[in-house]
């Protein structure tokens, strides 16, 4: 792969086209899944596809795959902070029912 002095590696257009096509297919899959009731799997499938699409965007369109090691580290830190937000919020949601509320 060629490298540009200022903008980093020059990614072949074919890669972008392939990623774009994959995103369109995954969007179609999300839409299709929305018409089928998968029960408890509804959210899992929708969020799973969304996560896959986000990963493609981050790796290829945002060039994280081609950067130095610091770049994936920064991305991982961002995701880790999201995990903090969700995990500590869940300490509330998962334990809120443990103690009865008077009158209920």
């Amino acid at each position: 792969m060629k490298t540009h002095p200022h903008t980093g590696p020059v990614v072949p257009v074919g890669v972008y086209v392939a990623v774009f096509a994959a995103l369109l297919i995954l969007t179609a899959m999300t839409t299709a899944a929305a018409f089928h009731d998968l029960g408890p799997m509804n959210n899992v499938v929708a969020l799973g596809i969304a996560a896959l699409k986000a990963t493609l965007v981050v790796l290829f369109f945002m060039h994280v795959r081609y950067g130095t090691r610091l770049i994936p580290l920064v991305v991982a830190a961002g995701l880790f902070w999201l995990v903090i937000l969700i995990a500590l919020s869940l300490t509330d949601y998962l334990t809120r029912g443990w103690l009865g509320v008077p009158g209920r």
Partner: protein, 544 residues
């Protein structure tokens, strides 16, 4: 401080202030120093608006009856006071003014990594401010600065969306500033300037920038969700639409608690510069203070739900958050003890920046210790939503962040403008502010403990004495803030020229001229020693 022969000096012929003239040269500048001054002007304007709201609030509370304003008006006043002061003054204050000006100089660089992005963030900030002022002029907002749902999404008939949009845009300004600082500190340090030779001010702003980048997007998305619920009726937070109001509080405080550290960490950085400078001593425990800054930034993200103890959250989760909140006391105490240890056997001088720094240490300690009280579940339930809380966070934000900001402004003013301000009046103002602050806010601790709730325009008559004291203190505090405004403006025209190092201290910023040239240094600096080598301070003081 000892009168130094080098306090005054001859200014350089060409520096960043006179390198170019005209309004265009300011509005289109990419010089980080000029952008710092643009921010200084903007935030002073917003501070004046927020301050005016505070004046009106204290006027209303001088009597027990709600006689000056209707309760609806009063709701708008305290909301706009909070929004203006937090999002448009405190959060940008030290980072955007002093950080912008000093970080490139302190790391020995010519400018920030992205100068145009820096100017763009100033424009974003002002656009955001205009949105908010538009909302203010058209009737304001009455939700409190916290925008709690479902009131803000379903019931409030005020300009919630315009204000939220203003804060949303201001958030992008914060993110860009934080990004600029992180990249600059990582990539543009001068030769020889390793991480542990960085001034602690830079460390604290690095930690602050991490919060900007990691926290602000969550606030932005939360405000968008709020707008989606209010405009389109999408049920996210409103229980009658299937939402959960506590979800809003979780998301809001995930940013807004760390925002407290956005305000106070930079002030700690300023104090870490001032204390060794005016104690003429190497700072005690450099690495511990540096790590404590990062620890505060990280721990600040783990404690948010202590704002929600009485909101109906799980008592088990509350216990976890209570314990985590107390952990914050550890790095805070590390800093306070290390500053105190630096003072020990130092050659202390009582110059204006030092007065502010010492004020900070005392007031921050009081704010911090009452914070530990509030992290305790039992006490929090008792004093929640009372004036005890108001007093506590004003000790952190006014007694801490503003004292730090003013201390920093006084310390670096000769560098920024090349002019000296009157020593006598500056010392007087520091003392007036300290006294005015305590007379304003100490009675509020007692009021809160006795049970006076926050956010009401009327109160039982037995609380009047303490409220009158508080309002009187606010008047003193207001005078204290006006004095520096007057002599700073005076000094720009009539002040004596400052030498390149008027305090006789060490640091890269003191090795360039006052004011610095546009490119900061005539020759790119090479760093050969740590930041607080005061064993050589005598040479610095006497030799130049």
């Amino acid at each position: 401080m000892v009168a130094l022969p080098s306090e005054t000096g001859i200014p350089p012929k060409v520096h960043y202030l006179n390198a170019d003239y005209g309004i265009r040269s300011w509005l289109l500048t990419t010089d980080h120093k000029r952008i710092g001054i643009l921010y200084l002007i903007s935030i002073t304007f917003f501070f004046a608006i927020g301050g005016l709201m505070a004046v009106l609030i204290r006027m209303e509370l001088a009597t027990p009856e709600g006689d000056l304003f209707q309760s609806d008006t009063y709701n708008r006043l305290f909301t706009m006071h909070g929004i203006m002061m937090i999002f448009f003054f405190l959060i940008p204050s030290i980072p955007a003014v002093l950080g912008n000006f000093l970080i490139p100089i302190m790391v020995g660089a010519r400018d920030l990594a992205f100068p145009r992005l820096n100017l763009f963030s100033w424009y974003l900030f002002n656009i955001a401010g205009l949105f908010t002022i538009w909302a203010l002029v058209h009737g304001g907002v009455d939700t409190g600065w916290t925008f709690y749902t479902p009131y803000s999404t379903r019931y409030s008939n005020t300009h919630v969306i315009a204000t939220a949009l203003g804060i949303f845009i201001a958030g992008f300004s914060s993110i860009l500033t934080g990004l600029n600082f992180v990249v600059t500190i990582h990539r543009m340090r001068a030769p020889g300037l390793g991480w542990f030779r960085l001034p602690l001010f830079v460390w604290s702003l690095y930690a602050t920038s991490l919060i900007f980048i990691l926290g602000t997007p969550v606030l932005a998305i939360t405000l968008l969700l709020l707008a989606a619920e209010r405009v389109f009726g999408i049920g996210i937070f409103d229980p009658s639409l299937g939402g959960d109001p506590l979800l809003f509080q979780h998301l809001f405080w995930f940013y807004s608690h760390p925002a407290v550290y956005i305000m106070v960490l930079p002030a700690m950085g300023v104090v870490s510069e001032i204390v060794p400078a005016f104690a003429r001593k190497k700072i005690f425990g450099y690495r511990f203070i540096a790590y404590a800054s990062v620890a505060l930034a990280v721990l600040g993200f783990l404690v948010w739900a202590h704002h929600m103890f009485v909101a109906g959250m799980s008592i088990y989760a509350a216990t976890v958050f209570s314990a985590l909140s107390m952990l914050v006391a550890v790095p805070s105490a590390v800093k306070v003890f290390n500053w105190t240890a630096t003072l020990y056997q130092g050659s202390i001088s009582w110059d204006t920046p030092m007065l502010y720094a010492l004020g900070f240490i005392g007031l921050f300690t009081m704010g911090g210790l009452t914070g530990v009280m509030l992290a305790t579940l039992g006490i929090d339930v008792h004093v929640h939503d009372t004036y005890f809380i108001i007093a506590h966070f004003h000790y952190i934000m006014v007694g801490g962040a503003i004292m730090g900001y003013l201390g920093g402004l006084h310390y670096w003013w000769p560098k920024i403008t090349g002019k000296l301000y009157p020593r006598f009046w500056s010392r007087i103002s520091a003392m007036v502010i300290f006294i005015g602050f305590n007379v304003t806010f100490f009675p509020q601790f007692i009021l809160g403990y006795l049970g006076m709730p926050r956010r009401y325009h009327a109160y039982p008559p037995e609380f009047q004495v303490l409220n009158v004291m508080s309002s009187a203190g606010a008047t003193i505090l207001g005078v204290g803030y006006l004095i520096p405004l007057i002599y700073f403006i005076w000094s720009m025209r009539y002040g004596r020229h400052a030498s390149s190092n008027p305090w006789g201290v060490v640091g890269l910023e003191w090795e360039t001229t006052s004011p610095p040239p546009t490119e900061n240094f005539e020759t790119p600096p090479v760093v050969t020693r740590g930041p607080y080598e005061y064993s050589r301070s005598e040479e610095v003081a006497d030799g130049r």
